[in-house]
Assembly symmetry: D2
Homo-oligomer: 435 residues x 4
Amino acid sequence: MSYERIYQLVEVITGKLVAYRREFHRYAESGWTEFRTASLVARRLANLGYEVYAGCDVIAASAQMGVPSPEVLERHWQRAKQEGGDPGYLDVMKGGFTGVVGILNQGNGPTIGLRFDMDALDLQESHADDHRPVQEGFVSIHEGVSHSCGHDGHTAIGLGVAEVLIALREQLNGTVKLIFQPAEEGVRGAKSMVEAGVVDDIDTMVGLHLYSGWPVGDLTGGSGGYLATQKFDATFTGLPAHAAGAPQAGKNALLAAATAVLNLYAIPRHRQGATRINVGRLIAGTGRNVICPEARLAIETRGATTELNDYMYEAAVRVLKAAAQMYGCTLEIKAMGSAQSANSDPILAARVEHIAQKIGGFSIRPPEGGGGSEDYTYMMRHVQQRGGQATNLGLGADLGGWGHHTAEFDFDERALSLGVKLLAAVVLDTIGAGE
Amino acid sequence: MSYERIYQLVEVITGKLVAYRREFHRYAESGWTEFRTASLVARRLANLGYEVYAGCDVIAASAQMGVPSPEVLERHWQRAKQEGGDPGYLDVMKGGFTGVVGILNQGNGPTIGLRFDMDALDLQESHADDHRPVQEGFVSIHEGVSHSCGHDGHTAIGLGVAEVLIALREQLNGTVKLIFQPAEEGVRGAKSMVEAGVVDDIDTMVGLHLYSGWPVGDLTGGSGGYLATQKFDATFTGLPAHAAGAPQAGKNALLAAATAVLNLYAIPRHRQGATRINVGRLIAGTGRNVICPEARLAIETRGATTELNDYMYEAAVRVLKAAAQMYGCTLEIKAMGSAQSANSDPILAARVEHIAQKIGGFSIRPPEGGGGSEDYTYMMRHVQQRGGQATNLGLGADLGGWGHHTAEFDFDERALSLGVKLLAAVVLDTIGAGE
Amino acid sequence: MSYERIYQLVEVITGKLVAYRREFHRYAESGWTEFRTASLVARRLANLGYEVYAGCDVIAASAQMGVPSPEVLERHWQRAKQEGGDPGYLDVMKGGFTGVVGILNQGNGPTIGLRFDMDALDLQESHADDHRPVQEGFVSIHEGVSHSCGHDGHTAIGLGVAEVLIALREQLNGTVKLIFQPAEEGVRGAKSMVEAGVVDDIDTMVGLHLYSGWPVGDLTGGSGGYLATQKFDATFTGLPAHAAGAPQAGKNALLAAATAVLNLYAIPRHRQGATRINVGRLIAGTGRNVICPEARLAIETRGATTELNDYMYEAAVRVLKAAAQMYGCTLEIKAMGSAQSANSDPILAARVEHIAQKIGGFSIRPPEGGGGSEDYTYMMRHVQQRGGQATNLGLGADLGGWGHHTAEFDFDERALSLGVKLLAAVVLDTIGAGE
Amino acid sequence: MSYERIYQLVEVITGKLVAYRREFHRYAESGWTEFRTASLVARRLANLGYEVYAGCDVIAASAQMGVPSPEVLERHWQRAKQEGGDPGYLDVMKGGFTGVVGILNQGNGPTIGLRFDMDALDLQESHADDHRPVQEGFVSIHEGVSHSCGHDGHTAIGLGVAEVLIALREQLNGTVKLIFQPAEEGVRGAKSMVEAGVVDDIDTMVGLHLYSGWPVGDLTGGSGGYLATQKFDATFTGLPAHAAGAPQAGKNALLAAATAVLNLYAIPRHRQGATRINVGRLIAGTGRNVICPEARLAIETRGATTELNDYMYEAAVRVLKAAAQMYGCTLEIKAMGSAQSANSDPILAARVEHIAQKIGGFSIRPPEGGGGSEDYTYMMRHVQQRGGQATNLGLGADLGGWGHHTAEFDFDERALSLGVKLLAAVVLDTIGAGE
C-alpha cells in the first residue's frame, strides 16, 4: 500500500491543523466543561459526513467522576454559548456530557477506534512576554485554565484524521470510530464512555499522546506500564464543641483525619509489585478554639496492576472507616477518578512502528518506564478483554521548553501533521481495502 | 456619699448611650481595624476635655498579636476614612494602632483605670426579619463582621462614664484612666497596651462585660477563673514531589502535621490542674498527586494557671519541632494571641457589689466557673503584681435571644445605663473627695 | 464512756501485735494467693469465738479481677500448706478465694464493719544490711514478694481489734463485722466481696491505712478524693507473615497497638474534672522479620469521679476497637482491677477524730489531696448508697525511711497498738451499750 | 576433564557425610556459639593437611553483629568443652570468634573460595515420634536450638569437599580457601569475615544452599535477587512517673515508640524499586500505673539494592531520633545484622550448571525471585568489586516435609554427596591443572 495520497491530503491541511489547535488552546476548557470544544468537534465531524453521537449517548452519567457542581457547569455552558459553541450540540451536552463519537461505516470489516482527549487543566497559563502563545496571540483567554498537557493538539489531530479519512473512504472496508473524550485529567472521563458502550465493537484501538520532552518525530508504538489508580475524596464529619469549655463534647474530625493519614501511609508494601498512596490535601476545621467538626482529604492510590491498586484502595477504606469510628465521626467517600493498569499489545505496537518507518520522519524509541496513570486504559483493557488489540502511541513534540502541567508548556506544532499521517496510515493498514 | 447626682446625669444621656451603641454596631470593625470606632472615641474624649493618647503611644507594636496583613489594614483604614472616622486620630492609628486612653487628672490621689474593649467579630450578622438590629436599622453594614459579643455596648458605656465623670470632676481626688482596647477577640490586644505602659500607674483596675445569658441587672462584682491561653499558628514547610513518580523525593508536610496533631493531643495531663489543647484548623496540600509541601495549623493551649499554660505550650513546641525534624520540614511558629490566668480581688469585688446594692437595680450572683479566656487578664495581673487591685464585672443584659458569638446575638440596652451608673459610682467611691 | 479498759487490753497484746505483723511480713503473699495469711486469720477469729465465713461465701468469683493463672494459684496454695497455713480453711480458699469475714453478733443494734487488707506486692524486698526486717529477722522469705505497703500491719491490727472486742463483747449492742480483704493492690479484690453481699447490712463502715510518710500518731479521720479507676489488659491478635516476602499478608497487631496508644493518650480532657489514662506496658511481636501477630497492653483509666472514669474507659474501648478494625485484628479486653471515687462522710470522720483526741496520742491532720485509688471505695459507696456512713482513716507510722512500694519500706510498729485502740474505741462509740 | 576420580572419592565418603551432618545436627549451636562445631571443623581440616586459621584471625570483632552476652558465650563455650569440642581450637574461639578458614595452596594460579555456614537456629526441634531425627536418634540435644535450615548439611559438605580436594591436590594449580562462617541467621557473621580480609584474594567465590522445598538434585547455578537488609534494635529511655499522681513528670518512652512505629511504616516507597520495613517486636514499660520509662524495638529495613536499603535505614533513623526528641527521651541504636543486595555472575552460574550436567544427577531450574536476605552477599560483592566472580548455588534436598525454619525441618541426605561432587568439580574446573 502506498501512502502518497495521505501525504498529499495532509500537506493541504497542515495550516488548518495549527489553526484548530490554537483555537482550542485559546478557549481552553477543563474536564466536563469542554462545551465549546466538544460542540465544535461534533459540528465539524457532522459537516464532514460522519455519523455523530454526543452527550448522554456516549457518556454514562453513572460512571462520570469528579464532575463540577451544577453551578460551575451552567456557568461554563453559558460561556461556551457566548464564545461561539455550536448551539445544537451544546443542548445535548448540557450538564457536562461533553463526549463526542464520529462514525464512518464503510461496509463489512473490522472496526478501528481512535481516541482523542480534549480537556485542559485548571492551571493559569503564563503571560510572560517570551511565552510563544502570548507572542503569537493564542494564549488562553480563560483565567486559571490552560492546555498545558497538549490535548488541544490531540483534538486537532483528531479533526485532521477525520478529514483525511473522509477523502480516503473508498479505500476502507470496515468502520472507523473517532472518539473524543472529556476529562482525562484526573482520570475522570474514559470510564463513562466505556460504560456507555462506545468501545464495545472495536477490534483495534489506537490512542496517541504528544510529549514535549521528546524530539519531534520520536515515536513509541506502544506505551505501557500505566499504574492503575483510584482518586477519591474522604470527608469526616464530627461535632464541634468549645475546646476549652467542653472538650469532651466534641467529635474531633481532625484527630480522625490525622490518625487516618498516618495509617494510610503505613499500609504495607505488597510483594507483587509497586504500590502508592498519597493524601495530597487535607482541609479541616473552623475556629482555633472549636473542636474540629469536619475534615476533607484528597487521596489517591496506585498499583502496578489493577489488583495491586485494589489492594491499596481496600486497605485505605478500612483505615478511613476505622478512623471515623474511633472518633464517632461519619465518613463519606466519593470517587473522583480512576484508571486501570494496561499495556499496549506488542504486535500492534510493532505494526504501528513499522508503518511509521515506511512513512518516514519518525524515530523509534523504546517505551518509557511507568509511574503515571491514564484513563484511556479503560478503553484499552475493555477492547483487549473482548479479544481486540489496543495500543497507545507516544509522539515527540519538543520545543525546548517546559514540561507538561507547567504554566509555560507549549509544543512543536510540526507534530500535528506527523500524527495525522501516522494515524490515517494505521487506519488504512488495518481496514484498508487493499490495492 | 450619695449617688443622686449620678442618677440624674445618666438619665440625661440614656438615649445617647443607645445611639452610640447602635452606631458602633452598624460600623462593626474587627480586631486591629477599629479605625472608625477608635478615632471617634478619641475625638469624643478630647472634646469632653480628657487628655487623650492614641496610636503608638498606647500600643507597643512588638507585643501586638494576630495583626491582619498590611493590605487588609490599609483597606479598612480607607474605609474608616470614607465612613466618617476622625481624620486626625485616623492618622495616628494607621497601621493598626487602634487603642485609645483618656486621662482625667484631678490632683494627688490614687489612679483608677477602667477598661473597655471595642472590637467586633469576623462573623456575618443575621439579616433575618426578626433580628432586632434589622428591624430597627442598625445591623452591621460591614459584610462578615458583627458586634456579636457586645463590645459595642462596652464602648458606649465607656463614653457614657467619660461624660458623667467630667460632670463630677470636682468631686474627684486622683486620676481616672479610661482605656479603650482593640482586638480582645482572639486575646490579641491587651498585652500590647500593658507593654506600652498604659496600666503601670493604676492602683485600682475595673473591667466590665455584658452577658446576654443573664437577666438584666444581674451582677458579679468579680469574675474569675480565667484560663491562661496561648494562641499560635504553626506552619510546616516541606518539599513537593510527584506522589507516584518520585514519592521518596518529597518532604511530606502533611505527615509531619498529622504526627504533630496526634502527639499534641497526647500531651499528658498535669497534676496541678486543668489543661487544654486544641488544633482548630489544619490546611495542607496542593494537588491530589503531589506530596504535600505545606501544612498550616491553628493551635491553642490553655491552663488553669499561667504556669500550666506554659507547660502545655512548651510541650506543644517540642512536639511540633520534632515532627518537623521527622520529615525534614522547616517549622514556623507565630504567636496569634495570649492571655493569662487571673482572679478578681475579692475585697474589690465585694466593694463593687456593695455599691451596686446601694444604687439599686442590680441583683448579685456568684461568679461562674471558668473555661474561657480574656486578655484583660494582662492588665489585671500587671496591676495586682504591682500591689494594686483589679476586678472584672459581669453584667446581665439578656434579651431572650441567642448566645455570644452567634449571628443572632443582641442584648438589652437597658444594661448600658446600669453599667454607666455602676462604674461612675465605683470611681467616686474609689477616688471621691468625700462629702 | 471511758476507754480505760481498752488501754489495758491493748497493753497486754502489744507484743502479740508486733509478732503477728512480723509473721505476715515474713510470709508475704500477693493478691489472691494470701492462702497462708487468710487461713491463719480465719483460724484465729474462730478460736476467739467469731462466726467465721471464708472462701466462696465471701468472694464472688464473677467479680474477681486480675486473678493469677490456675498454675500459680496451685503452686502458692501448696506452698501455704507447707508453710503452716490452716488446713481446713486452706481447703475452702483453694482457687484464690482468700477472703475472710468474722462476725460478732451481740443482739439487736446497728452493724459496724471494719475492713483490713492482707495482700503484699510483687516486689523484691531489700536484703541490705541496714534494712530493719533483715536485722531483726523478719524479711520476706518469698522471693519477689514483700509487704511494702503495710497491709501486714493492717492485718495485725485487725486481729488485735478482734481480741479486744471479744473481751468487751458484753458492752456491745449490735453486730461487728471484721472484713479481711485480699488483693487490694491493683484494686482487684474489694468488688468481689461487695458482690458477695459482705457489706449489705453494714450501717457504719471503717477502714484504716498506715502511712510511712506521716509521723507516728498523725491521724486523718476521713481520707477522700480517691480517683475512680479501671485497670484492664487489651490484646490485639493479628496474623504473622514474612515481613519481606509477604508484607501484605500479615495483620499487624503492633500497628494496631501503636495507633491505639497514641489515640488513647489523645482522649480529650473533660470539663468536669481530672481524668487520667496510662498504657503502662506494651509487649508485642515475635521475630524481627515477622509481621507482629500479637500485642498486649496494660492500661488504666482514672477519673475524679466514677462518671469521669467511665467517660475515659468508654472512650478507650472505642479507640481500641477501632484500632483493631483498622488492622483486621481481633481484640480482647480483660478487666484487671477497678475502684470507685469516694469520699469519707465528714460527720463520721469528725467523730473518729473526736474519739482519737479523747484517747490521746494522736495528732489530727487534714486529709491530703487525691491522686491515688483504693478499692475499699467499693465498700464505702455501697454502704453510703444504702444510707450508711463510711470513712477511711489514715494513720501515721513513719520510721524515717522510704516510701510505700519500695524495696526498703518499713513502718513504726507503735502504730499498731494506736490503731487497735482507736478502732476498738470507734466500735464501742458506735454500738456500745452505754454506761 | 573427567570426573571419574571425583565419583570414586565421593562414593567412599558418602556414609561419613551423613555421619558428619547428623553429629552437627545433634549438637546444634546457634550464631556465635558454634564452639563445638567450629573447633571440630578446624581440627578436621588441620588433620587433612590444610593450613588452618580460626578465631580472631578470621573474625573482625569490630564488625561482629548480634553477639550474645558474655555470660551466654561463656556458658556455651563450657558446654562445647564438655561435649567434645577440640580443646586447642576452643581456646582461640573463646568470646565468640567461631570462624574457620582452611587453605590449600597448590602453587601459582587463581584462588577459589568456597563458603559454608555452620550455625543453627534458636528454635525448639520437634520431638514428635514421626520426626526422622527422633526416629534415627540425631535430634538436637540442645533445648531450644536446632538445625532447621540445613547448615549442618552445608558444614558436612564442606568437610567432604575438603577431603576430596586433598586427594586431588596434585591436579590443582592455584589456591583453595574453604571458609566456614558463623552466625548467618540474622545475617550477623559474614561481614566480620570480610572485614578480617578472608576473601580479599579470592578470584572465584562459590556458596551453596540446600532447599528442602526442591526435589533432590534440582540445581540453580546462580541464585540472586537478595535484598539488602539492616537489622537493628532501638531503645528509647525516658523517665518513669506515677501515671495518676504526676503524669506531667514522666518522659513517656512508649509514646515515643508508638509514634516511631507509625511513622516508620509510613516511610514513603521509592521509585527505584522494592523497599521494606518491619518492627517485629516492641517491649515497653513496667507497671500499669507508671509512665513507661523504656521501650525496645527490633527493626529491620530491606531494599532491592543496597542503596534502597540505605534510603530506608536513614529515613528510619531520622524518624527514631525525632520521636525521641518529641518525648525528651534518649535513643540508642544497635546494629544487629546486615546483608547487601547481590546477584550471582551469570557466566559463572552457567559454567556451574554446565559442569552439573556433565556430572549427571542434577536438574537445572531457573533462579527464584527474591524476597530474602543472605549475608554471604558481603563476600559476593567484595569479590565482584575487586574484579572476581561470585555465585551462590541452590540445591534441592526435599524430603516431602516441612519448610525451613520450622520445628519439623529435615532434608534428604542424598544431596550431601551431590553437593560434594559438584563443588569439587567446580574447583577442578576453575583451577585444575589440565589433563
